[in-house]
Symmetry: C2
DNA sequence: GAATTTACCTTGAACCTTCACATTCCGGTA
DNA sequence: TACCGGAATGTGAAGGTTCAAGGTAAATTC
């Protein structure tokens, strides 16, 4: 048997199709007795409104486009995974769904998202990984496609679109202070040149954490490409400059750095307790070093709220610019030590 | 100005809307000169067919549902990420798009997917993580929802739906042989109890690789929960039983096991060269141990081909049951040694 | 008792495309 | 001239929903 439609239901019930529609979309317009009768019949028939017909009429699909970014690094990579999961969940909670898109760059992403928007397949987009020269917000604004962004608009902080970002600095600052509390004074920073703005933010946290320490910070500040080996090399240099600890921009870098400390331990300090990483990967947990957590599970629902208040009328408004703090996951040893073979 | 439609375009061009439609969907029906004229106008006007209207008429959205599984473990987790990315890409190539769904269990996943199907939002589903007591295939079949599965239907290997799976055994077998070539004879296996069927498959590879070795395999065979610490504990037991090497069911387990070998090195064997992991995570690369790779980038396009031949007529048929080999990524030291602090 | 309001329900149109069929046009053949 | 067949193009309908405007009967007001 064919799937029931508004019309077939209405005929069976002896009411008009609009009444059935009202029972679903505007129940207060229908007398209670009728409403219940219709409801029950809908239930029994297993009727589900046709998404296509609804979309055609309302010009809304309740689908939003998101770019699935390629896997960068399996160590820190799970953050984006967590975010994607949280976003999907938050969207579902509000009756929306994410459609995924791949792209090899910003322009390709833009093309993919606007393409979906122009065919009416999606209502909006959720961006991530904002950067200073990000052309996406302006372009989307130009064509009138609604969107929100995970990450502040570095180029123009007063951009009109809603966004949620994480204050990377605060967690690193916390981490740096922890290292100081543990007795370190020459604490280096190993940042990743691959994430320009985010890295600057994290470095800022280290600088704040080092406030009042009488050291030459410039020579303790490293900027290297992402990767375990680079962390290793950077920490060797820092070690030679007398550093006994380091805050790192990623857990990969931290892993490399940690191995240097196991290679040439510093009297009185446990290696795992002399390193702070970022993104709290399972590796950090296993090796027992502290790491900074990004609360992406909180970011996603906020973004979705913002998005929906862009899309729908009469929803309670929400903050259009939110910065959430990162937090330190402090660990005390023991853990799994690492040392690079010489 | 309003978005152009078939009708508005047709009016401007002085042809019927069907002709414009034909230019898009069945160009061979339209005379070349007309076709070009229409094409050019379409181009200029920026016309994009309405997905909703098309879906309403054809009863197809070219969207497929997929479950976004929660992040299990950041070390091996990137495999599912890679798969998701590859699947998205493969779908896009054929004009399809993935919609994500979250679920806390199989039943919830089923409810989510069939829900989408019943409203006509998706045409089909792509399943992953099949298991012996998997109720999903039967249920989807019952309601007539098309789908394909990443993972063989363990319960009924001759199930009628198409699937692609990876032969986990072969890579582990290869790894085990590598360890033998390097001179090991007492080679343990540390499997993860969290992935029942997959684990059995990987263990099978180890058994095959050990063929002809005169050892008591039962006492070399460990089954523990997933996680670095469990790998560590298992390897300690294996070491005490005289094992000098191990093939592991996951890289997390391998990491833990490796650390035991650094803790108590075996004369003549390099620790990193005595461990084989699974899923070739960045950790394996950094620490320099060999690991088995799942070719998910090949799985995804195959699945998509299968799916499309389920959905569309007149597409060249393709194999409905495919098993791809996993392959060993063999590494020789040096790498980053690990040792668990005692 | 007539006029007005209210509550509830129905009708017609629109959304934009594609399907199935109808029509026109053309050169070629009987 | 009449007819035919095939290619190119046009027409009507359908698909399921929502919006806007209408209708009907009961309840209220004067």
């Amino acid at each position: 048997m064919a799937r029931p439609t508004l019309i077939s239901l209405a005929k069976e019930l002896g009411v008009s199709r609009q009444t059935v529609s009202n029972v679903i979309n505007a129940p207060h317009l229908v007398k209670t007795s009728t409403r219940e009768r219709v409801r029950e019949h809908i239930e029994r028939s297993g009727y589900r409104p046709s998404a296509a017909a609804r979309a055609l009429r309302t010009n809304r699909t309740k689908i939003v486009g998101m770019r699935m970014s390629p896997v960068l690094d399996g160590i820190n990579g799970s953050v984006m995974d967590r975010y994607l999961h949280a976003a999907t969940e938050a969207l579902e909670e509000r009756g929306y769904h994410p459609v995924l898109v791949t792209a090899s760059g910003e322009q390709e992403e833009l093309a993919a998202l606007t393409g979906l928007y122009e065919t009416g397949l999606v209502d909006a987009a959720m961006l991530a990984y904002t950067s200073p020269l990000d052309s996406r917000p302006a372009e989307l604004r130009r064509i009138g496609m609604p969107f929100v962004a995970f990450g502040r608009p570095w180029g123009e902080l007063d951009a009109p679109h809603p966004w949620v970002d994480i204050d990377n600095a605060i967690g690193v600052e916390e981490g740096t202070r922890l290292l100081r509390e543990r007795g370190h004074t020459r604490i280096g920073f190993i940042g990743s040149s691959d994430f320009s703005m985010i890295d600057r933010d994290r470095r800022e946290g280290w600088l704040r954490g080092m406030k009042g320490v009488d050291e030459n910070l410039a020579e303790l500040d490293m900027c290297v490409p992402e990767g375990i080996e680079h962390g290793f090399r950077a920490m060797r240099i820092l070690r030679d400059r007398g550093a006994t600890a380091a805050a790192c921009g990623t857990d990969s870098l931290a892993l490399g750095a940690l191995s240097v400390l196991y290679e040439s331990p510093v009297e009185g300090f446990h290696p795992a307790e002399s390193i702070v990483g970022f993104d709290d990967s399972p590796v950090a947990a296993a090796l027992g070093f502290s790491s900074v957590i990004q609360p992406v599970e909180e970011v996603a629902p906020l973004l979705v709220s913002q998005l929906i208040s862009e899309l729908e009328d009469d929803v309670e408004p929400c903050d259009r610019r939110v910065v959430l703090p990162s937090v330190l996951r402090a660990r005390v040893g023991p853990g799994l030590p690492v040392r690079l073979r010489s």
